[in-house]
């Protein structure tokens, strides 16, 4: 077995027993990156020198001691660029570390590079990137999903052992599903957002993308926790997720299957794979019950009002004055702002900023934003009711498998509707895990989403781990060919 195929859990054992050195491991990863990157283009930035320097002296007894990790390009790392895949942040070098980065460093992880994404996390395909196109490792003519497409593609093609992504409407789970790896969105407030370039403040969360659920549990443990620098992070104790993976009994467990997530329009093979996974849980002893989340049809509309409104304000700071790229020719101050931002932002970002500005503008606040806040409450209540009788829900992560590059980029509304199964989880502030549960006949990964109540990541992790263990899951190596 090649070194690059291992999981974190396997590597930790080798490192602690000194059967493997961090330097050897890191070099092995960089070799894999060199081999695979030209095809995948998952990374925007790689710092070989810094990683090796750190690997030389790292203490392997730390929780993630010696483990290389890739970081999504919207999380601030001191002295590294933080492009967010945008032109407008050209040249920006971050002078500070995000809280999650501080935690990773303290836990002994080795930062190897930054992964590609949709610009400012706005998108579901990583096609909206000003820094290059990332390919799906399972079919190089297809998208890896988004917005954490680079992280998912890197993990799936084993040019990263694990990665951090961010999830606002599905941006960790959907690419995990498209690329065939594991992705988790924690409960809102579980992981500090300090240092994550904000897209929608009330929905964003940082989370792990890994090869196995076991790895995701370990990574989540390290990055979670209350942060005084993030007023929205919660003072909830962080369970030892990695130790709770096998403490779940399915005997009295009720797993809900929301009927609104099994509508017309889901790809036939996806539906089949999900049904198979549900049946598998049933065979292991869980009770399956059909439930209803009646406000599901309103989730996408609600999301696009709230997220774009918050984003329009969060992205106002990008004006080329204190950092980033500014326009070279302008007549006056107004023209300066207008050109700098027009030149610096891509189309999707502009679209969302404009939409968000509109819904907040004079006369429309009540009709759009305030109304959306209330519908969000209803969606949250839907989940609360359902979780009174179930411990978790099973749904597809995405209605379809990875689509072709360019296929959906002309119809923004179509692209938005692709997020239909992941979005409500962000709106309700609860947790969601996507795990691979099959492949289409074309060899494209299919993702199963396990949704849990707020603060119950250990439940969805245990369920996901159980699935992987009982199906003999082994992270596959994609052939990396065009089909």
């Amino acid at each position: 077995m090649n070194l690059f195929e291992y999981t974190i859990s396997e590597l930790r054992k080798l490192l602690v027993r000194k059967e493997l050195s961090p330097t050897e491991l890191t070099e092995a990863l960089f070799s894999r990156i060199a081999e695979v990157e030209p095809k995948i283009n998952a990374y925007n930035y790689i710092n070989h020198e810094r990683a090796i320097e750190r690997a030389k002296t790292i203490n392997v007894d730390l929780p993630l001691g010696g483990i290389p990790i890739a970081i999504k390009d919207n999380i601030n790392v001191r002295a590294e660029p933080c492009r967010c895949a945008s032109k407008i942040l050209e040249g920006y070098l971050s002078p500070y570390n995000a809280t999650v980065i501080e935690k990773l460093i303290k836990a002994g992880a080795i930062l190897v590079g930054r992964t590609n994404m949709d610009e400012f996390a706005m998108g579901s395909s990583t096609e909206n990137s000003a820094t290059g196109l990332t390919k799906n490792p399972w079919d190089l003519q297809r998208v890896p999903g988004g917005s954490s497409g680079g992280s998912a593609a890197a993990v799936a093609s084993h040019e990263a052992f694990c990665a951090l992504g961010s999830d606002t409407g599905g941006s960790i789970r959907q690419p995990a599903s498209f690329c065939g790896c594991v992705g988790l969105k924690p409960t809102y407030g579980r992981v500090s957002r300090y240092g994550l370039t904000a897209f929608a403040s009330s929905l964003d969360q940082i989370g792990p993308l890994t090869k196995t659920v076991e790895d995701a549990a370990l990574l989540l443990e390290v990055i979670s926790g209350f942060d005084p620098n993030d007023n929205t992070s919660e003072k909830m104790p962080v369970p030892r997720f990695s130790e709770l993976l096998e403490t779940l009994s399915l005997k009295n467990m009720v797993l809900g299957v929301p009927k609104e997530y099994f509508i017309e329009g889901i790809d036939g093979e996806v539906r089949e794979a999900i049904n198979k996974a549900i049946a598998h849980f049933e065979s292991l002893g869980a009770k399956i019950e059909e439930v209803s989340l009646p406000h599901t049809p309103y989730a996408v509309a609600t999301y696009y009002i709230l997220a774009t409104a918050e984003a329009s304000a969060n992205l106002a700071r990008f004006d080329g004055i204190r950092y980033g790229r500014r326009s070279k020719h302008y007549e006056d101050l107004l023209d300066y702002y207008g050109k700098t931002r027009d030149e610096g932002f891509g189309s999707e970002v502009k679209r969302r900023i404009l939409l968000g500005t509109y819904v907040l503008s004079s006369g429309y606040y009540d009709a759009y934003y305030l109304r959306a806040l209330k519908v969000k409450e209803k969606i949250k209540q839907d989940f609360s009711s359902v979780f009174k009788k179930c411990q978790a829900l099973l749904t597809p992560t995405s209605p379809f498998c990875a689509f072709r590059i360019g296929e959906k980029s002309n119809d923004p509304l179509q692209m938005y509707l692709a997020d239909i199964f992941t979005i409500a989880v962000n709106l309700a502030g609860i947790c969601g895990l996507s795990i691979p549960c099959g492949q289409s006949t074309e060899g494209l990964p299919i993702g199963l989403q396990i949704i849990g109540p707020a603060w119950k990541e250990e439940v969805i992790l245990a369920l996901g781990h159980l699935y992987q263990k009982s199906t003999g899951w082994k992270p596959p190596i994609p052939p990396l060919e065009k089909t």
């Binding site: 309103y298 509309a301 101050l333």
Partner: protein, 95 residues
């Protein structure tokens, strides 16, 4: 359902993004479609929703008024596209 019209120029001005005519047309069309879709929110009964502040047992999360280290000026200015005399330089502001 009637599609709401949107003054793209007004919105673009508020957002400080200079759009060309092509972009204005494209966004205008896309918005009509998106906003048409968003209209469906009107179907939801919301009068019974009270947006409460926070949950039971809410506690403030406030910072003590103690000085903390900030950034060194050279780190601050390093990213500035244009700076002089320790100030960020911008096109003339007329008051």
């Amino acid at each position: 359902m009637e599609k709401p019209s949107i003054d793209i120029q007004y919105v673009a001005d508020l957002a400080r993004i200079s759009l060309n005519e092509e972009e204005k047309k494209m966004f205008g069309e896309q918005f009509a479609s998106i906003l048409g879709y968003i209209e469906k929110l009107k179907e939801v009964k919301i009068d019974d929703v009270v947006l409460k502040g926070e949950e039971e047992g809410f506690k403030n999360n406030l910072r003590e008024d103690l000085p903390q280290d900030g950034l060194a000026t050279e780190d601050v200015l390093r990213n500035a596209p244009h700076h002089a005399n320790n100030l960020f330089i911008v096109p003339k502001i007329i008051e």
